[in-house]
Amino acid sequence: MSALASWRLALRLARRDAMRHRGRSVLVLVMIALPVLAVTAADVVIATQEVSGVESLDRRLGAADALVEVPAGGAPMLQAFDPYDGSTSADGVPADHEPPAAAEVSDVLGGVRLLERRQGDVYLRTDDGVAYVWATEVDLRDPLTRGLFDLGSGRWPADSSEVVVNREVRDQGYAVGDRLDLVGDDAPAPIVVGIAESTTSRTMPVVAGPIGSLGIEPSEWSGPAWLAAGGDVSWAEVEELNALGATALSRAVLADPPPDSEAPEEIRAWSSGTDDAMVAAIVLIVVMALLEVVLLAGPAFAVTARRQARTLALMASAGGTPAQSRRAIIGGGVVLGTVAALLGVALGIGAGRLLVPVVQHWSGEWFGPFDVPWLHLLGIALFGLVSAVLASVVPAWIASRQDVVAVLSGRRADTRPSLRSPILGVVLIGVGVAGSAYGATSGSSGEFAIAASAVVAVLGMILLVPVVVAGVARLAGRLPLSPRYAARDAARHRTRTVPAVAAVAATVAGVVALGIAVTSDEAENEGTYQAMLPMGDGAVTAYDLTPPQWRDLHGAVAAKVPDADVVLVDGLVESTSMAEPDARSYYLETRAPGVPRHQPLLSMMATTFGSSVLVDDDMPEIVRGVSDAGRRRGDAALAEGRVVVFTDRPVDADRVVLRPSWSTMDDSGNLPRATVPATYVPIDRSEASASLVIPPAVIDRLDLPHAPVALAVSGGRITPEQEEAVTEAVQAVTNDGGFYVERGYQADDETVIVQLVLAGLGGVLMLGGTLTATFLALSDARPDLATLSAVGASPRRRRWIAASYALVIGVVGAVLGAAVGFIPGIAVTYPLTRGWDPEVEAHYLDVPWLMILGVVVALPLVTAALVALFARSRLPLVARVD
């Protein structure tokens, strides 16, 4: 018989067998189709949500052929085919280069018409304070803009005194006919004439009107931009524009991109930077998922193989070859895998279709049209097929080598386990431990080494499962009847039991490893947390307030927190508002005479009150980490007109060298240095919030500007309500400020959620593995159950046996998995919690015992209870068995 014909026969037999044993077939279908379905649905949603280059053109270009922008003040540019995928200014910017004007751009493109577009953000006063709104200035009546916005009601703006807003802005209190109250001294006040939605953003507040309607000035970073109409813009033209200092998003280039080699090399190198790690991670995930699915589907094939054992033995005694025996089983994998893959993909597309609106609801961006990525889905379907075939391989192999005589004489057990595989298993676990240790101690790519060795360790563990299951059976002699029967029966039918136990173990290993990683990461966060202020104290900072505004704010804040001290903090102006590019900010470098320059006086400091240089006549209360004696010395020094310098190293000096410098957005300079009398006061660096205190007379003499920089709120535990009220008061006068309240370390909700999700996922997979094995075991155990009934077992006994079975599989799997999960779990905490400072030996390990206990003890018990609850309590009759 040719191989092909033999395969055809095997497939036909498999199809018939699958039809005959519906229960088992459905089980395999579910095990494989479910993951295929889930991944397909996710893939469809992701593809739909992703607005790929061509799909996004209309919402970015409207009806234009290209969007030309000058992003870097006219410096020559390099760009990817889509400038949003990457663009950078080229080296060697000519100093006197002027940004290109509209006429030049139009010339390059052959004299096409250009429509100017400006974008930026504006601040809008609303009922609750001030809101940030994304603003676009462009003539919306121009047909070129069709597709940028959808007009819902009202009309398009006709001149620069009119705008449209989206629903989000309308919901903040503006209706058609209202005048927009924009923040800014000479901001325009346009009238809302329509409600229009951006075709890109769904939830962000958006406003749009003609040029001039919103007061957006082109700046160096967001220079002028034009929509161009008048025919395709070629890649050559784009490059020409790049040379001029502009980038271009061309419809024609994106729709039909030139070969990759045409893109500038710098940009190409950029976009492919992280691919390796990404691919490795994906390979790892796919391997683990494949393993899990194979293990979950494995038991069903094991049972199929054993049910066919007699047929295969007869075949063998009639001269059949082992290969033919194998094909008979693997044929089942092919048939069921194909059906499951097709079913999973089809249902997954449907599920994705249903999910899209749900996910859209949570997303701030509009999705593209419904998208089915067929190439991906082909891969996913193949994954399903391969996992089914793989799941049938081991049972097929065992079936092809079975002891013909034993089978024909009716013995039901599997053959003894070989010794070779557990030894290999131990070796693999050893390799996993070594790899994890290597990953823990090595530098950069440690996580990947650990993840890879985790897979190796799990594979090793799977090879150990048969020995462990046999050992448990040997120890079962003292157990009550039901667990004793379950443990022994599980060991007798290893091909069925081992994959189920391994599936549970692999799941638990993953859950435990990730759990340790997440919890340790959280422990690091908590351990390295540095309080900026005493508990419950707060600080208001802002960068653009005048002294009178600060005084007003002082009053307002004091009124909101009546039982706290509110102090206006004076300091060197170290930061200025981004809104005032010409305002100078100052920096003061300090050095003790005789202390080398590379040894800073203070190795660590956090600026809490807007400036690291405070100006005061005596030691400000808000400075922490100073002893009472130090505080007294500081007060005395300041009274004498000396500068107080905080330090965390021993300094023997009575003067300090001050080197002031200043800078604006685009200029900087040094000021004359000065050496002044100083007193060095020791400070605890972890609490340091300032580096020096200068008396007002001294800073005036140095001719350095000082001003209010912050409000310190202390002494009265700030409640969350007060925090909210103060924040609102701050936002009412500035949008460049904030209110920080020290609440200590705030445990991330996410950690708990991640733990719950992990435990939940573990629970589902464990339930899946346990239920499969239990269901199959019960159907296998029919003769035994019938016998039990005949010797007087009550019908309830079936439930006990089912629950015991689930318990054996769950506990053995969970214990093994937890043990193996500790290896990568502990290893990964080393690279994960190493910290940023290579000098500091940092490592945090926190094992989530409660979660592990839950997974190892509670979950198997719950699973067993569920099985006991839902198992049929009816014993089969002997008469019906044969």
Partner: protein, 240 residues
Amino acid sequence: MSAVLRMAEVTRVHGEGATEVHALRSVSFAAHPGELVAVMGPSGSGKSTLLTLAGGLDGPTSGVVSVEGVDLAGVGAAGRARMRRTSIGYVFQDFNLIPALTAVENVALPLELDGVRSRTARAGARAALEEVGIADLADRFPDHMSGGQQQRVAIARAVVGDRRLILADEPTGALDSETGESILRLLRARCDAGAAGVLVTHEARHAAWADRVVFLRDGVVIDETGADHADALLDAGRIR
């Protein structure tokens, strides 16, 4: 002496309509303490059905089955299960031992299922194994025993805990004749010790071990030989 097993006008119909099969028709039958009754008949005559009804594994369509004076229909499924643990012992043609349990554990099953403490149950099981002559095999698994040894274990399981009714459905069917004889000798000895036995067989020479033979055909008792011959014939013939 009162009968351990009494079946009165028992009918069992499988299926309905066109596929209706009368496995037993109005059969009356009794087995007394110390008595081994052989039931004979061709294949399909209803022998096994009679035993499943006697053991409470199946219920009659009409008629009454009582064991030690208890109407099996009146005690519910749990009650019947308890009867099988304490009063009725079963022996099957293909032994029906549980392969995951050792010989002594198989024998201890009825006791353990009845809530007897594990240690006590095993002691009782060992005694029963001793009685059937294979005490040395107590810790073997069935897969590692010969057919005759397995059937001895099955008999030990059927008698353990002093059960007074032993139902054996072709217990020698899967054994060679010599081994079969020894099994029947064990059954006979058990009945001589006071139990009532019902032995289904289709081999006439096995019937020689019995005190009395009941012949079935198409679900009807057609003849009866032995001690209470006349009575039994009268019983069987009184059709209402």
